[in-house]
């Protein structure tokens, strides 16, 4: 397998596109996502700075603590079939207090958007296709302010993602109080 390579643009837009908003589905590819070039693994992208105006905890309506995740794995790695994102965990560490937080990527989901909740019958015919070299790519656009109960204080978070033996790149995101409009 090739070396894992990816590109991210931390200074680009993290605003969702119209199609994303229409479907309100965090699994649809949208702006800000990492671009995986080769290999298998996890890559994340996030803005350098997140603003908030309310307290005492971050509110997802107020703070857009967006983390875009891209994964690419060989089919059925760890027995996860083609669904790896459900098993991914996002980690956030407050760089000042060293308090660590974790959240399953499942918490990024909106209700009723995942299918195949009922497993197929065990005697269902299995395809004969050899998937040992098939790679599966997935995306996630998550708001950590929705997934983790974070205090609304100015600080920096170090974030990364974890899935089995894989870890993503690490990023630092500054949390700042939004200046009132003049």
């Amino acid at each position: 397998m090739d070396e894992f390579k990816f590109e991210i643009d931390r200074d680009g837009s993290f605003e969702p596109e119209a199609f994303w908003i229409r479907h309100n589905n965090p699994r649809i590819s949208t702006r800000g996502k990492p671009k995986i070039i080769s290999g298998v693994g996890i890559a994340i992208n996030a803005p350098r700075e997140v603003q908030f105006s309310e307290g005492p905890r971050l509110s997802p309506k107020d703070a857009q603590f967006i983390v875009c995740v891209a994964t690419r794995f060989v089919y059925d790695m760890l027995g996860h079939g083609s669904d790896f994102m459900d098993h991914l965990t996002l980690v956030a560490v407050d760089a000042r207090t060293h308090q660590s937080y974790e959240a399953s990527a499942l918490l990024a989901d909106n209700s009723n958007i995942r299918d195949n909740l009922v497993p197929p019958p065990s005697d269902m015919l299995q395809p004969e296709t050899d998937h040992t070299n098939t790679t599966i790519g997935e995306f996630l656009r998550a708001n950590l302010a929705k997934m983790i109960d974070l205090p609304a204080v100015e600080t920096e978070y170090i974030i990364y993602a974890s899935l089995g033996p894989y870890r993503s790149n690490t990023l630092t995101v500054k949390l700042v109080h939004r200046k009132p409009s003049p």
Partner: protein
């Protein structure tokens, strides 16, 4: 998890003089219970270390992943440190740590697990922990 040692052990991985980051290993496996501790070393420039904490050990985050999910913990975050717990050589800061994965009387869960340690933006190598040897006919998840 608990901690009990900030010294280099015979199992602590070796690092090059110019190494920057965190490196970890598992202690040798007990024949009955498997590896019981995570040992490691970090080395940063003085500027990097001071930006993290006077005692960077406090910022060590252990990430324990299994096929079911991931948990994180900062086992040394509230520990009291002394100046000689970190080594300052030239412009580098080095520290050693050992984190017990399972208390002596605790049941060792079945693996596999994958462990990493982060320190600031530095991520260590990943070490795999298969869990304790399972005797034939043993109930899954229980040590011998």
């Amino acid at each position: 998890m608990s901690n009990n040692d900030l010294s280099r052990t015979r199992d602590t991985p070796a690092i090059a003089a110019d190494f920057v980051g965190v490196k970890v290993a598992l202690s040798p496996a007990s024949a009955v219970r498997g590896p019981m501790a995570l040992v490691g070393v970090f080395q940063l420039s003085a500027a990097q270390a001071d930006a993290i904490d006077q005692y960077p050990h406090r910022a060590l985050v252990v990430t324990l992943a299994s096929t079911a999910g991931t948990m994180v913990t900062t086992p040394l975050r509230q520990r009291v440190f002394f100046p000689d717990d970190v080594q300052r050589v030239a412009s580098q800061v080095r520290g050693y740590f050992r984190v017990d994965l399972v208390d002596p009387g605790e049941i060792v869960p079945a693996g596999p697990f994958w462990l990493t340690v982060s320190l600031g933006e530095h991520l260590s190598n990943v070490v795999a922990f298969a869990g304790p040897p399972q005797p034939a006919g043993a109930h899954a998840g229980l040590g011998a």
